[in-house]
């Protein structure tokens, strides 16, 4: 038991390596902000393309969305980070991770938006257009607010997935939370930093997961 605590729950080690993990956490936060922020915008854009009247916009959008959802994010990341330099395209670890996960993530957000937008009855758009609103205004003020509300649990759920996804960035030596924790482990020959990283993820994501469940219950009623 004492060994277990010394190896996994060593407070002294945790305190000592905290500055390192704090830096990692900050990097994870930046990564999340970029990937989630761009993903929410890019996903919306993709969903509009996927619902466009013209098939020349719609079909390519479906292909892009399907491919991005089918390719494992880690494969995409390694391709961008290690594969593209062969084409003379050198890219920093942060940019590689941001681009790879932004692409993967927008495809998921796009499908969620699409489901939400298509759940809004056509009468809403018609009522808005009949009062002289442009199609963009009808989308922005009438359809989208309702659509987002309908799919909020799914958007949140996907966002949780994105936060967890960023730990894959450790593979390309980006010093995010997991990478920093693992480095701390090897420096101290002690696994407590990894436990601390897990606890940090848990502290941030558990409330979100709870929120999703509560919201889903509320919508189901």
């Amino acid at each position: 038991m004492e060994d277990f605590i010394r190896l996994f729950l060593n407070v002294e080690v945790m305190l000592r390596t905290w500055p390192l993990l704090k830096q990692g956490l900050w990097m994870t936060a930046q990564l999340c902000a970029v990937v989630i922020g761009l993903g929410l915008v890019g996903g919306l854009f993709l969903s509009f393309l996927a619902m466009a009247k013209s098939r020349w916009l719609r079909w390519p959008a479906f292909v892009v969305i399907d491919v991005l959802r089918a390719v494992p994010p880690l494969v995409l990341l390694i391709f961008i980070y290690s594969g593209l330099p062969f084409a003379g395209l050198d890219i920093s670890p942060f940019a590689a991770v941001a681009v790879a996960f932004f692409l993967n993530n927008s495809a998921y957000y796009a499908e969620i938006y699409r489901a939400g937008i298509q759940s809004i009855p056509a009468g809403q758009t018609e009522a808005a257009r009949a009062t002289g609103l442009t199609s963009a205004q009808a989308m922005a003020y009438v359809v989208l607010p309702q659509a987002v509300r309908n799919v909020l649990p799914d958007l949140l759920s996907n966002t949780v997935e994105v936060v967890k996804l960023t730990s894959l960035a450790s593979v390309v030596s980006l010093a995010e939370l997991l990478y920093s924790a693992n480095m701390a482990r090897s420096l101290t020959y002690n696994s407590s930093p990894l436990v601390m990283a897990a606890l940090i993820y848990l502290a941030f994501l558990w409330p979100l997961v709870r929120l999703v469940s509560r919201y889903q219950r509320k919508l189901a009623v």
Binding site: P121, G123, Q124, E126, A127, A128, R129, A130, T131, G132, L133, T134, Q137, Y141, V142, P145, Q146, R149
Partner: protein, 246 residues
């Protein structure tokens, strides 16, 4: 007849091989209430929806106070639509906005009124339909009749030249129909030009200037309400009226 506010000229609408409207000619004069009856599938609603191009006519034109809405750019169409208030069978209030917000939205975004101006106007319109006290209510907290009256206020707030009613009471419980018809009667008294598709024959008798009977995508017969209801000329009109009366 007074100056025509709404004029349909040789309007045709086809969905693929199906002809829904065939060569419709109709003039609605200023301040006139024209009432459209006919069996379901006769093209009444499609005709109404062609007036503001929610449905694109296949050919023919629609003139709003002399201006051709069928021959204008998408940009101009949005402006032209401000002249046409439309009330739907299903109300279609925006469920995420309260009553006053519903009435304000297009005033601010399409008409360019300031928020204060739009709010004042919205409250005035809600007052007119007897719902000033419900201005903060969300649509889900309103009865069907109240929702439809808010929808009428939403259309009126844009100062339309013509109001289009697409079966405004068909989705309502019988005891709520009266409140909506009362608002429509008030509108008629105030001189609003109205084109109404509805099954409320009593209302037509009382308030309509003219009744149009449509069947199979054509106007079969039109005339004074009394004449149409008591002495219809066409066989199809007679058959329809006797079916409706049961």
């Amino acid at each position: 007849m007074t100056r025509p506010m709404l004029e349909l000229v040789g309007l045709n609408k086809r969905f693929g091989d199906l002809t829904v409207l065939h060569d419709i000619h109709l003039r609605v004069g200023q301040g006139e209430l024209v009432f459209v009856i006919g069996p379901s599938g006769s093209g009444k609603s499609t005709m109404l929806r062609c007036c503001n191009r929610l449905e694109e006519p296949t050919s023919g034109s629609v003139l709003i106070d002399g201006a051709d809405i069928t021959a204008c750019s998408p940009r101009a169409l949005n402006k032209m639509r401000l002249n046409l208030g439309m009330v739907f069978q299903g109300f279609h209030l925006y469920p995420h906005m309260d009553a006053v917000g519903n009435v304000m939205l297009a005033q601010v975004k399409a008409l360019g009124r300031s928020k204060d101006e739009a709010r004042a106007r919205a409250l005035e319109m809600l007052d007119r339909v007897g719902l000033r006290h419900k201005s903060d209510a969300m649509p889900s907290a309103l009865s069907g009749g109240q929702q439809q009256r808010v929808a009428i206020a939403r259309a009126l707030a844009l100062d339309p030249k013509v109001m289009l009613f697409d079966e405004p009471t068909s989705a309502l419980d019988p005891e709520l129909v009266g409140s909506v018809l009362a608002v429509m009667k008030d509108l008629r008294t105030s001189g609003m030009t109205m084109l109404v598709v509805s099954h409320e024959m009593g209302f037509a008798r009382e308030a309509a200037d003219r009744v149009i009977f449509m069947d199979g995508g054509v106007i079969v017969e039109e005339g004074q309400p009394e004449a149409i209801f008591t002495n219809p000329q066409a066989e199809r009109t007679r058959a329809f009226l006797s079916r409706v009366r049961g």
